[in-house]
Subunit: 504 residues, 2 copies
Amino acid sequence: MTMTHLYDIFEARLQAPANGNPYLDVTLHAHFKQGNRSVRVTGFHDGGNEYVIRFMPDTVGEWTYVTTSNVAELDGREGNLTVNAARDGVHGPVHVRNRFHFAHADGTPYFPFGTTCYAWTHQPLDMQEQTLASLEKSGFNKIRMGVFPKDYPFNTNEPLQPMFLETSGGGIDFDRPNPAAFQHLEKQIARLGDLGIEADLILFHPYDRWGYATMTEAQNLRYVEYAAARLSAFRNVWWALANEYDFLLDTIPVETWDRFCHILEENDPVQHLRSIHNGDQNMNFDHRKPWITHVCIQNWDVKRTPEWRLAYGKPVVNDEPEYEGNIIYCWGNISAEELVHRFWITVMRGGYAGHGETYVDPDDLIWWAKGGVLHGESWKRISFLLKLMQGDKLEGLEPMGMHDQWPWSRISGARDLGGKVSYLYFGEHQPNQWTTGLPTDDGRYEVDLIDTWNMTVTPAKRIEAFVPHPQRHGNITRGGKADAAFGIELPGRPYLALRVRKLD
Amino acid sequence: MTMTHLYDIFEARLQAPANGNPYLDVTLHAHFKQGNRSVRVTGFHDGGNEYVIRFMPDTVGEWTYVTTSNVAELDGREGNLTVNAARDGVHGPVHVRNRFHFAHADGTPYFPFGTTCYAWTHQPLDMQEQTLASLEKSGFNKIRMGVFPKDYPFNTNEPLQPMFLETSGGGIDFDRPNPAAFQHLEKQIARLGDLGIEADLILFHPYDRWGYATMTEAQNLRYVEYAAARLSAFRNVWWALANEYDFLLDTIPVETWDRFCHILEENDPVQHLRSIHNGDQNMNFDHRKPWITHVCIQNWDVKRTPEWRLAYGKPVVNDEPEYEGNIIYCWGNISAEELVHRFWITVMRGGYAGHGETYVDPDDLIWWAKGGVLHGESWKRISFLLKLMQGDKLEGLEPMGMHDQWPWSRISGARDLGGKVSYLYFGEHQPNQWTTGLPTDDGRYEVDLIDTWNMTVTPAKRIEAFVPHPQRHGNITRGGKADAAFGIELPGRPYLALRVRKLD
């Protein structure tokens, strides 16, 4: 009897001859059973005579399994396992909760505060160690990374190994995956998991000179199934089906993305999160489709976050609100101050944002693509915001008002689903006092002033609520009374926030 | 024979009894003729036995006129005048030129760089003098100002005098204009004209406690005709029909705004500019209507400027991209840095922006409403930008690319209609070098680096153009060659611009 832990990987390795091309010819599944419940898992060939079944148990207790295959040696193989409670710090895969937010399977809230190192697993091994060390220090809990290597400006080095086997002619045989390369990828995904970091895994991207972006439709479909078979059992995997899908439309027609999603639905028993990221700001994928779990976008216009929530009715993760840096490309040269500002706006409008860093380097060692070392100033402030949210055990910040409502198109405010904490973020606004969005009742509240750049939290000064002179707007007489039970005096400089906590 | 100058005011004062209510009962027009040309001018009663015909000649030479009226003493009165060349510095009224831009009648380009002092003509006279002195120093060449006094937060003082006569009961008789009040308004419009400042005159606004916002439809229509009769001859008048028309919909239905415009078309021989300003960001007036000459809006989201150009096909004047200040209202508390940034973005995307200043004052003496003294930091930088444009005798800046086009949704660039000068504004972006939008030919160019905040202009350092590593995006292989004939090295900090001037 094999023992394992909840959300860890159970792996059964089976041996059978690998005649012909097992990637094309062999079907292998296992059905894991617990009582009346049955979970179908897809197996895969792992090189040589090795075939693998991987399973991430999502309940404790006894499980049995039996395989089916078109290869006699792999068919009807049986086994069982005992699943014990999750190890400390293991919370299980992340899913959508409360429509616009996320949580781990064990109920722990999860706020995606991610960064981007597209091709870090293809860099020299010592640099990969450096990346992991930087990630551990950084506070980021998600990373966008590609399965395939990357060819792009500042990304011209060869990967350590191709993801499919090389032919004798020096090309790549996209019908033969490279087990060693996937094993390395898996090792790094597992290490991210140990650090509490979700791997937002990009299956397809257009930055290519080797042929990954021009595989045939059949090759693409098979690769997605293979990825599901190999990687679904990793609790910290997210399926980022594409980076900039709209720059791949010449080789992957838009309807094929739906097929990819369906293959994941069929072959990923965990039903990991699925998203498709756009390139052009006006080419959002149709995130309303039911197989898309959340909105993954690239858009600098972060005050529109509530529009995307409304349009798609799903969590919004804006992974590219432009990156901190100074390269010539405008998606990668905003100031640290601006990126921190965009994080606060996004989060305080009910979405989540992503970090990237693109400072020019003499050796092209740029975090956003290769990892290594962080040089910027935004990551600390982003981590500060995440810690604030985690410190209060928030459930999820819901925006005050929607995009068009006064004053929430101009400043940002949000209230936690838990009901006890709210935030106001003023950004470029610098009022000398504030009322709107503050408590309207007599309860006991603690209000703190947050300097988002200097990362300070100090008690805010409470004052009488501002009572505006009455005014007629349309047929409504406004004003004449305050819109909150008290006001807060503010220092009249930009990039400040208020946190309001209800006591008892 | 009366002598006058081009674009100055010719005034004929006629005497007749003022029985009954001349405002309601007397019709008076004059037809000014020059050769076959005839211009109809509407006259008005100016108190007592005084009736006035005002005319702004737009061509030199001999003119004759004859009046028509339903009052015998005012009917058939004749006269003539000789119009000489314009006085020095007088360029005539501003009209639209080149679809998205403006020019004076004599052909001098005009870039609206305006500020806002809604109720300055209703403040104590010494403060009005202060306002004029501040305006002269400021460099602004337009001011938004209301005909009526203002009741609003921070605006609670009584005006010097009502615009209509008071009744014996202390109310206001909206059927009897106050000649003294209009004479004062006219004096101040004329003084603005002497300073080269356009008076963007707001006929209706919702900030009211006296009854101006709740006049009857008949009273409103008559008032518009009266305003046209009195004020059309001032070369520096613009008709800002409303401030925040959408907050007046309870008393002025949306179709009535069209009638107001038609009355101005009929009674304003100069056809001064006509616009209608919104309150809510999503309530733009339908500026496509042919009687609207330009887009006047309130919108903080200034990177959208090219969208409004496209939507309406007219010059865009964003008079309220939020104001510099620190009051509690978010339309009035952005930092000086942010307002300067928004000016540059707007202008470099083919629009024009407006200034306002709303710093808290113990006596509520706030520039945006009352004028007085400027306390902020943005006005100097705004004036600096205007001087740059005037220094090069620009015709009008047309945006490079439109809203969605790379990289112009992220940074801003514009080329002058004259063809010799272009600008790139990087804003929150801080590339260490640049090429896109720089000249692609071998001509001789002078390139300067502009620090928009510190107001410095220094020669930019020319370098080899950046040659990007080739990349595949869709079926296009990009990169491999530079997109300009040379590059510019940049210091990698935000809020910089480049100016490129073609030498020959």
